[in-house]
């Protein structure tokens, strides 16, 4: 059995040599380089990643050793997401005199990113599948992403694959730390998932709200729980367990108030240390909960969302007849991608849909992406800031503004979705979120650090 495998290995080497006659010039160089590498009397270079099992917001250190000095190498990361799509990133490096490459020290000179970017292989991942406009969003957060990191001879791109992989290491990226408990909430009409840190508590807590894409994204709450906060991801639209038409916002003010109180009343939560985080439309909901229901959150975090209601509501609360904002304000770029930015322009909103922002009584941090193509975030920020200043509450307001960052400022080291598939019916629509890869990645990393610090200061002190 072992001898048969050995013959196959020799055959593979011979095949590589044959292939050199048919490859392009650059590939010929790389393939020959690989054969030369294999025929040297050396073991393969050693590629390490530490820690090899990490939480998604933890940076890791990737190193290669026992390489020839001053040599071109390529680092590549591959991940298969739950939908089966392949995501890849790669970067070109030159080894140092001691034959090492170290992503926390060295500069990429080509590929998915440039410069010294220890986590570039993660936030630089791009989709290579058939599916149009995918986003990398983990549905089952009880399992990890498995990332295959490999080292190749020369400066190559993954699609070429002319030479042999020299070394590899497998890294796991987890949203949940060991001991974090995931609890499905389906009570009092509330649809959500509660994450509790290990231990007796009492824990400070966060109510976690996303945008009108709907469903129940759990990964941010799972991360909060991994950092010691109880966190409730709340579904309010486009979830099978919610009442009424799937595409409408059918739950009203009492729903959101109940969700906040459920968190406060949990026996392992400090009732007076509960904050709210919202992204996109979740920002409007965050501000609405903070100003209209008589509840007292300890802090508010708003990421790229409107301070006014962009949906056509029925009655006096947040319910809508349909999920769409007003199509007259949809704009299309030269590629046919829709941007919803005009929808939230203040001059397009009727005055009756404004909130009493002056009623805010707790610190508020607004995370703003300056290339947000989805929401008129700058106007929202100005509105909040002016209203609070007029009410003598400027000291409550902080804004972090990131040039080059788009709408979807997500947990760190996750890839940017500048555009994605919005819907397929009645017609297929691709939406533009904005953001440029490198500044957006920097924004996510810095914003997350600031979010942790803000939560620490307002929920733990």
């Amino acid at each position: 059995m072992l001898r048969v495998r050995k013959i196959q290995q020799h055959t593979v080497l011979k095949l590589i040599q044959c292939f050199t006659l048919q490859r392009r010039q650059t590939s010929l160089h790389h393939a020959v380089g690989a054969v030369q590498w294999l025929s040297r009397n050396r073991p393969a270079p050693l590629l390490t990643a530490a820690p090899v099992r990490a939480i998604v917001d933890e940076p890791i250190s990737i190193k290669g050793q026992f390489l020839p000095p001053y040599s071109p190498v390529t680092l590549c990361a591959r991940l298969h997401c739950e939908d089966g799509d392949l995501w890849e990133a790669f970067a070109h490096y030159n080894t140092k005199a001691d034959g090492t490459v170290n992503l926390t020290r060295d500069h990429s000179v080509g590929g998915s990113y440039l410069g010294c970017e220890p986590m570039g292989l993660f936030w630089g991942l791009r989709p290579y599948g058939e599916r149009e406009g995918p986003r990398l969003r983990k549905k089952n957060i009880e399992t990890s992403y498995v990332v295959h990191i490999s080292l190749w001879d020369g400066h190559v791109s993954p699609s070429e694959r002319p030479s042999t992989e020299l070394a590899a290491v497998t890294a796991e990226r987890w949203f949940m730390a060991p001991g974090v408990r995931r609890i499905e909430i389906r009570q009092n009409g509330i649809v959500g998932t509660l994450f509790l840190p290990p231990g007796p508590g009492l824990f400070p807590a966060m109510l976690d709200l996303w945008g009108v894409g709907g469903g129940l994204p759990e990964y941010r709450s799972a991360l909060f729980a991994s950092r010691g906060y109880a966190s409730l991801s709340l579904a309010y639209m486009k979830h099978i367990d919610l009442p009424g038409p799937f595409h409408c916002l059918t739950v009203g003010d009492s729903y959101f108030k109940s969700a906040f109180q459920l968190l406060q009343e949990h026996h392992q939560v400090c009732a007076d240390r509960v904050g709210i985080i919202g992204l996109s439309y979740g920002v409007y909901l965050t501000l609405r909960i903070a100003t209209q229901f008589g509840v007292k959150p300890s802090c508010l975090i708003c990421v790229n969302g409107p301070a006014v209601n962009i949906m056509k509501s029925t009655g006096g609360d947040s319910r809508t007849q349909d999920s769409d904002s007003d199509p007259q304000y949809w704009t299309y770029d030269h590629q046919g991608y829709v941007t919803f930015k005009e929808v939230s322009r203040l001059h397009n909103i009727c005055p009756g849909s404004r909130l009493k922002l002056e009623n805010i009584t707790c610190p508020l941090m607004y995370i703003l992406g300056e290339d947000d193509l989805n929401t008129s975030s700058v106007e929202s920020v100005n509105l909040i800031e002016e209203t609070l200043r007029a009410a003598g509450k400027s000291h409550l307001f902080t804004c972090l503004s990131y040039p080059g960052a788009g709408h979807l400022i997500e947990p760190p080291y996750t890839p940017l979705a500048r555009t994605s598939l919005w819907r397929v019916k009645p017609i297929k629509m691709m939406v533009a979120w904005g953001g440029h890869v490198s500044p957006h990645a920097a924004a996510q990393e810095d914003a997350w650090r600031n979010i942790q610090e803000f939560m620490e200061n307002n929920l733990r002190q």
Partner: protein
């Protein structure tokens, strides 16, 4: 705004680590200057409970940092970043003579780390905060393969990637059985490692193992398509150390690139049925301590006077690392290591030798941060159980495990990955 005081926060990182990686343990939001106890608890696969604990006092910011602060007592004292792991011992009321050895290396060791208020009687109070950590013998991507080929029994661990890799033959001692954890850990560091089983516990006398069994095992590693045949080393502990030296010095077919012996033992392993284990029936030299634990070290001293019972280590042609504890009560490893040194010097081979002798360390020098076992249950031939005294004091033994592992990895890397020839001694 007025709020009730925030509860203490316990942060242990990394929450998932390899067993030879360090952790930091930080407690925050305590009242300043308050006495607390930090405890770790492990429920083993054998259903035993192990714990370690230490008494601390928070600083003016209400912080306890296990890496930086002094423990005032418990299962360890002083500034000991990893004390919550290496000072682990069976909880009061446990069975006697226990040893903690992971059989299933594909699942992690789970530790509950908790913070309790006060020092005395801390167990009576519920924890203020707790965390769960995982410690793994295998990294993701490491493959585990059962080996049963050409009569050889064991488990092979392959690192991820195409290779080719250097290899290691990993052998344990006279307790027998198949222990995978050290080989698994070596695979995490880039070696194809074969954990070899060469007899079942308690069956040594009835086993008629031939020398060729070990040569075949070594060859199996060499012939693996992902192994570089001329870069295979041998790592042996106790009886495994004797086998390693026999192979390295006297085999005609096996030429290891490097050899590591823990619990220096250069008794001739040529025929196991004539091995030192037969000394058990010889009461001369066997002592017991005040707890009736067997001390075997003196029984083997007479071997040093009989050339025919010793491996001719002067014939070694590969680098050799000899690791032993000076408080080894099971084997006269200091005297044996002295003899190995003399013989190699006489043969002009001293430049090949690296010797690490650790004061107050015992016989079982295991991977780092493992608990120390001064005496444990052991099955002797005839399947009788005794308690053997291994020796060592916990703190120096743990230091020896940490230091020796680092040096073992560095030695393997230098000789199996690198291209250097051993330098002449100063």
């Amino acid at each position: 705004m007025s709020q009730a005081a925030a509860p203490p926060v316990l942060c242990v990182a990394p929450s998932r680590a390899l067993v030879d990686e360090k952790i930091t343990v930080l407690v925050e939001n305590l009242p300043p200057g308050s006495p607390v106890t930090v405890r770790s608890h492990h429920h083993s696969d054998d259903q035993d409970d192990w714990e370690a604990y230490a008494h601390y006092v928070s600083d003016h910011r209400g912080v306890v940092s296990v890496s930086d602060d002094m423990s005032f007592g418990g299962t360890y004292s002083g500034v000991e970043p990893m004390g919550l792991l290496w000072s682990l011992r069976p909880v009061p009321g446990s069975r006697t003579g226990l040893r903690l050895r992971k059989k299933n290396v594909c699942t992690p060791l789970l530790f509950h780390i908790s913070v309790h208020s006060g020092h005395e009687g801390f167990r009576e109070r519920p924890p203020l905060a707790s965390a769960l950590i995982e410690r793994w013998y295998v990294a993701p991507g490491v493959q585990r393969i059962d080996v049963s080929e050409r009569g050889v029994r064991g488990t092979l661990f392959l690192p991820p990637g195409p290779g080719p890799f250097p290899g290691v033959l990993d052998m344990w001692g006279g307790g027998g059985g198949l222990h995978e954890y050290r080989a698994a850990l070596l695979a995490c560091h880039g070696y194809v490692a074969l954990a070899l089983e060469y007899f079942k516990p308690g069956e040594l006398k009835s086993t008629d193992l031939e020398y060729s069994y070990f040569e075949t095992a070594f060859n199996l590693i060499q012939e693996h398509p992902r192994v570089m045949a001329d870069r295979v080393g041998i790592l042996g502990l106790s009886l495994g150390s004797s086998l390693a030296l026999s192979l390295a010095a006297e085999s005609k077919t096996v030429q290891p690139r490097a050899c590591i012996c823990i619990g220096s033992n250069h008794c001739s392993g040529r025929s196991l049925s004539g091995s030192p284990m037969v000394l058990i029936t010889n009461p001369e030299g066997m002592r017991v301590d005040e707890n009736n634990h067997h001390i075997w070290r003196d029984m083997a001293l007479s071997i040093l006077e009989d050339e025919s019972k010793l491996v001719d280590v002067g014939k070694m042609s590969c680098p050799l690392m000899v690791v032993n504890g000076a408080d080894d009560q099971n084997w006269p490893s200091t005297e044996m290591a002295d003899d190995i040194t003399r013989r190699m010097r006489a043969a002009g081979k001293e430049h090949l030798l690296t010797r690490l002798e650790y004061p107050d360390a015992g016989h079982l020098i295991e991977p780092p941060f493992s608990p120390h076992f001064r005496a444990t249950n052991f099955m002797v031939p005839g399947r009788q159980k005794v308690i053997l005294l291994w020796g060592g004091q916990t703190k120096p033994h743990s230091d020896a495990q940490e230091d020796s592992w680092r040096k073992i990895l560095s030695f393997l890397q230098q000789h199996l990955y690198g291209n250097q020839c051993p330098k002449a001694k100063l």
